[in-house]
Amino acid sequence: MGVLNNSLPDIGPVRAVDSAIGWGRKSSIWPMTFGIACCAIEMMAVYAATFDLDRFGAGVPRATPRQSDLIIVPGTVNAKMAVRVKRLYDQMSEPRYVIAMGACVCGGGPYVKWGYNTVKGVHKIIPVDIFVPGCPPRPEALMDGILKLREKVGRNQVFARQAQTAADMDGRYAAAK
């Protein structure tokens, strides 16, 4: 789409196309199979039978970053791993979203003081969309994070110009809901 991105006037038809794309994107967020530490187990619990992330269409974990829309960073990122996390993020295709799961990833967590090796929050490495704190967050918390991400994705504008005012933003938000 390139040049067309956010360049068309913010009028009804453009908005309709945008919201259709937003609906598609938010209903089909494919996460990447990516586990680091403790939080990865709770992330697996979210995929598993009791919580079943697939209800929201997000239960198709893709092993390759090219095909995934969402990278959930579940667990402490250290200096050695940070290079890899960054590269993984770089390999993903747009649009891509990041959820920082767990205290370590949100800001160092228990390792913030004495961890000579840990990165204090993955937002130092890659831009993060949603922070889900907790050590580890309960599956419900991660589900909530993903639902928040769905809202965020759903009101994204693809073709239309970015909203200028807060009222405009609210209108879009209501429409996306």
Partner: protein
């Protein structure tokens, strides 16, 4: 097809024009059919998998049981960035999904859904489908090689070895009903089974041949337990590791389309085609024929899904061993046995 051409000629178009109009209509409707079918099959796969795995699967997208899930996936993939690895061969990378899809797409034109309801009534229908479906391998090798990724290469080589090996038992097993019916034309199988009952019950060798063909077709469609080319726990995503967005969805589409073709061959050649009852008949009302055939096809697709979500994956040498040590010899045994039965005039449970 001929009736379509006649219809267009009736509209006043002449010769080539009528022909091309008819073809265009066929291709468009076929494309539409495949797309809609693939979306439904993907949704069905997710629901089947979910229910096998004690959960619900898609529930939110669209109102009823997430029926619009595949639509949303398609919209998402359509508007996803299309990455091409800079080190790879760009042209092959670009064209590979098309090659893969064309092979399977061409297979659809020979499938008869009812008497006269097929695009081309080929005299060598079975042969044509077997041959054209193999084109897919070339596309997969192109994809694997052009990706400049080792995992892709592994997946492509595995696919080549596996599909080429399993063509032999599949083709040999298909020769058994061909030998019994005495024709390559798919319509003849339906007619024959209307008189003599389902071929799978015709004689014991045909039963085994049906099993061999079904197993081989699983390997041909890269379905578990033969999903080695995209073995997720070993090769990440196999040959389509580097593909994203719409191009990746072509591989998805191709997988489900080839499942359809394989299931259609199984149903037509062994399980009565559009004849509802195992003892044959041919007295079902004609409009029901496509419904019966498609129901059978979906049953076999369901079995393929059921197997996928139940069985572990074979190892690459076990796949080869199974093909060459068990399926190929047994397929030949079936062929010879069926020939002997035909010579003696035995067989035909219901004829």
């Amino acid at each position: 097809m001929t009736s379509l051409i006649a219809f267009f000629e009736g509209l006043g178009l002449e010769g080539v024009l009528a022909l091309s109009a008819a073809y265009a209509l066929c291709i468009a409707s076929l494309l539409g059919f495949i797309t809609v079918y693939a979306m439904f099959a993907i949704w069905m796969e997710r629901k089947v998998a979910a229910h096998i795995q004690v959960r619900y699967g898609p529930m939110e997208t669209g109102a009823w049981h997430g029926w619009a899930q595949s639509v949303a996936d398609a919209v998402k993939l359509l508007f996803k960035e299309d990455l091409i690895p800079p080190e790879g061969n760009k042209f092959l990378f670009w064209i590979a999904p098309a090659v893969v899809f064309c092979g399977v797409f061409a297979g659809f034109i020979a499938i008869p859904f009812a008497e006269g309801m097929q695009i081309v009534d080929l005299h060598l229908g079975v042969f044509f489908i077997m041959a054209i479906a193999s084109v897919e391998v070339i596309g997969v090798i192109m994809a694997g090689w052009a990706s400049n990724s080792k995992y892709s290469l592994f997946g492509a080589v595995r696919e080549a070895a596996q599909v080429v090996s399993y063509e032999i038992p599949a083709a040999t097993a298909l020769l058994v009903p061909i030998l019994v019916v005495g024709s390559f034309r798919l319509g003849d199988f339906n007619a024959f089974q209307a008189d003599h009952g389902w071929l799978v019950l015709y004689n014991p060798f045909l039963t085994v041949a049906a099993l061999i063909y079904f197993i081989s077709s699983l390997a041909g469609c890269k379905r578990a337990p033969f999903d080695l080319p995209e073995a997720e726990s070993e090769l990440v995503s196999g040959f389509h590791t580097e593909y994203s967005g719409m191009r990746f969805s072509f591989f998805f589409l191709e997988e489900y389309a080839s499942m359809f073709v394989a299931a259609a061959l199984t149903a037509t050649l062994f399980f009565g085609g559009w004849n509802l009852f195992p003892w044959g008949g041919g007295w079902e009302p004609a409009p029901l024929a496509p419904v019966i055939l498609i129901s059978k096809i979906f049953f076999f697709i369901f079995v393929q899904m059921w197997l996928r979500w139940t069985l572990p994956r074979l190892r690459v040498d076990q796949v080869m061993a199974m093909g060459y040590k068990y399926l190929v010899p047994w397929a030949f045994v079936c062929l010879i046995g069926a020939a002997w039965f035909e010579y003696m005039g035995w067989g035909g449970l219901f004829s």
